[in-house]
Symmetry: C2
Subunit: 558 residues, 2 copies
Amino acid sequence: MAEEAKEIPERPKEGEAAAPKDGEEKGPSKKALKKLEKEREKAEKKRLQTEKDAAAKAAADANDVSKGDYGDSPIIGSAEYTAPGLKRVDFSTLGELEDGNEVAVRCVVRNARSQSAKLAFLELREGFHTIQAVIAASETLSRQMVKFVASINPESVVDVIGLVKEPKEPVKSATISNREIHILKIWVVAKAEPQLPIQIDDAERPLPAEGSEEGASGDDGRPLVGLNTRLDNRVLDLRSMLNHAIMGIKGGVSRLFEEFMWEHGFQQIWSPKILGAATEGGSNVFELKYFNTSAYLAQSPQFYKQMLIAARYKRVFEVGPVFRAENSNTARHLTEFVGLDLEMEFNEHYHEVLDFLEDMVLHIFNGLRTRYKKETDLVRSVYKVPEFQLPESGKVPRIPFSEGIKMLREAGEELSDYDDLTTPQEKLLGKLVLEKYHTDFYTLDQFPLSIRPFYTMPSGINPQNSNSYDLFMRGQEIMSGAQRVHDYELLCKRMRSFEPPLDPESPGFRSYTSAFKYGCPPHAGGGFGLERIVMLWLGLPNVRLASLFPRDPSRIMP
Amino acid sequence: MAEEAKEIPERPKEGEAAAPKDGEEKGPSKKALKKLEKEREKAEKKRLQTEKDAAAKAAADANDVSKGDYGDSPIIGSAEYTAPGLKRVDFSTLGELEDGNEVAVRCVVRNARSQSAKLAFLELREGFHTIQAVIAASETLSRQMVKFVASINPESVVDVIGLVKEPKEPVKSATISNREIHILKIWVVAKAEPQLPIQIDDAERPLPAEGSEEGASGDDGRPLVGLNTRLDNRVLDLRSMLNHAIMGIKGGVSRLFEEFMWEHGFQQIWSPKILGAATEGGSNVFELKYFNTSAYLAQSPQFYKQMLIAARYKRVFEVGPVFRAENSNTARHLTEFVGLDLEMEFNEHYHEVLDFLEDMVLHIFNGLRTRYKKETDLVRSVYKVPEFQLPESGKVPRIPFSEGIKMLREAGEELSDYDDLTTPQEKLLGKLVLEKYHTDFYTLDQFPLSIRPFYTMPSGINPQNSNSYDLFMRGQEIMSGAQRVHDYELLCKRMRSFEPPLDPESPGFRSYTSAFKYGCPPHAGGGFGLERIVMLWLGLPNVRLASLFPRDPSRIMP
């Protein structure tokens, strides 16, 4: 009878049943007829199946010594604590438990296979750990239970009670290779459908190389799943340990940043994301309907950070979303990303702030090296990118922009003194700096004034330059910052000198510019893109991999 | 000559000069003529003034012993470190310095006054501290310098070098009353305009009582500045110590929350704010233009938190903006606020999560009591609200919703078993709970299923109830949460049972609902409004006071 069950057709995928398979078929009456017939068949099948199931269950129950020790758990609706004394353990502790210990675990079935009617194996996962579980039919464990175990769909969540045992030989396929679990009881807490749209194992592997097709092969000759397929099925994709490691590191960067801010007396702020005016460059801003008027999404907390300096908050930082309506479909642009922003007073020279910023980034990198080594190593085992180089001396090379230009010219690039660098030039400079200074992290200082925003302070030394800087990782910018103009008259002058001129007294600018009328001290700051830091620390091929649910001009789902 | 300088007219306010004062005047030719005449006069005045200034300066310089020790500093453009050895100190250390110590400080002039031609006083502020500074003309300090000091506009930023001295009697008006600074040198680093749109002293005082007019008097009979005037001039308003204290507490709540999350193994997440579909209640959502299509602003991270649970992140939290397009013009609604959200797996009963949530909030309150006492006391000295009561036993009353209904009925309210509570009823219940349990913080549990969202898990005990809860402070909800439906079939059933029915397979819902097809464990969570916690902890009369730049249906500026 149980064999017969195999002939039951697989549950159709959602939405599939309603779609006609024969595209050639015409005429509604024929279709309707067929539909009715199908429905009748379906109802009859269901009735038979219910009868069969009940009969099978009764027969099985009658001679099942393991009855009550396994099965599908009802949906946990919190009517009561079903096992009040039961303490479940994390997998992280299993490797150290003594042989013979009884444990309860809640975990995920990665894989189930039966070796025979009497023996089945599970690969179980919890967090970054996997362990093998085994069940062998015996006087106390029924064949029905072994069969049930072997039939559990991968990705189902289970409760297991079992004995921790030392295996005869190490289980190489599991991260906990020196132990296995001998199953005593098992319930499926949340059942997965049998067919997964993508395999979690595929999500553990790298993206196809840039420019290659979906399904191109990896080093091992097996096909690789492309970015879009992964992002379309992002919840399953995110289950991979690879993605858990990336997101762990992302959380780590933010945590290290915040801890450093708090230690140094910064006030956390939340500036508004809905703005009444599109001030910082109107073309790259998202517009929204706001009751009976229009509003805009903030492209950065720039103006508000400065207004808070003017409001006597000496040091402020913000962690929050940043929105850019740039139609850039590159591997390093997102339309929504997480900004790590800060702004601070200084006394005499903006290099006080730049010193602080470099120290802060080094603090983050050192924290990643020590506190997030496991995650970093895991990602590096998949994306085989050279380890991120930090300056051995602990001193970050601070290269004047003009010196950068010189280095590029010596390497054969043609460019003028006050040109902005192209992306390939930036990357080339990254290589040159790595060769010369043996570091992937460095600063460019004193950018030409003409290529920076109006609120940037002109240089006190060369008025064609500005007191501005970019921080780079592997030849890509991760932070842009500067001393800002803190004097109202100078700010107005700078705004009016722009082409086209900006009006400091226009409604959009007034609340910003007026902040500098009433005594605002000298200040500087900058803003980091969190996803970029993660991408460049790990050497990921695409910034989307560092975003849970990336947004770009062609993707706003899931 | 110096006397003559008094006759120079005050610098006109920006924009004022261009506005004709005589509204009766007609005809463009007359206007144009007058304008030309005015301009000519202005130019002549300026020329004379420049000459006068130069002459005055030369004469003054000739016999000024303090020449070079005071004045307006040029704009700090970071050409060089002007005083490389100079170490400025924070005001927090001044009270402990010995009599006669020389210090350098950068600070704000709150007030300048001259007692005579030979004696002037400044009230200086840095952070939460104020101190008196004094200058008396002597052989080494010129009268010109005394005059300059007395003329410094309030809110200007200054560098002061001086001697710390014990005053003859304590300076009651300053927070540091046991010391004063005897000025040796002083430069104005950033000059404030002479007229401030609002006085910082006024921003230190409470709002007028609810319902009273702008300008209504406070307890001391002096007029109070209303909310709109404050918000229109928010940068100056935010300078008050009152607002520094409120924002310090806001940062504190978030920090205490995050620290607790990290300690308990939560993964920080950033869910997208730009969504492809308006799913959670279409009417309260902001719509935006997204390249060639439409998108929506996230009303909560609800769906994404749950999708991440389904992606095997066992415990997740987010701190980020939440957008609500509700046209509610009340003292407790904002259209943009900061959400503290979390979601976590549990084993058997959602009360595991509720226990955790209550502990977390108590951790925040206890942290506020110890680490943010100074700020809390400062706000309480302005808004004289009773101190927030916490349960003495440390156990948070967890009141079944049905019990809450009963308490309200006993207090004379008429309502049915499954009615939602009105805001006044919630507040009344807060009072009843305070009387009975002596706490301003408590939980309502097991809300009627009909008044909760579709993703709420029905109660395992009474199917008309749900495994949902609200946390309250002073009779106002600060968090709403629940066990969620983690089973795909049940979720679809719940959605289809709604009026109008929701389609689980619609493009907007599919990426959410499909997350539950592949083994999602039982989980629960909740979301706090950060500004509400701050408002209710302090007993502020309006939630806008807890937002740097509040957003409501009629305000998106500054």
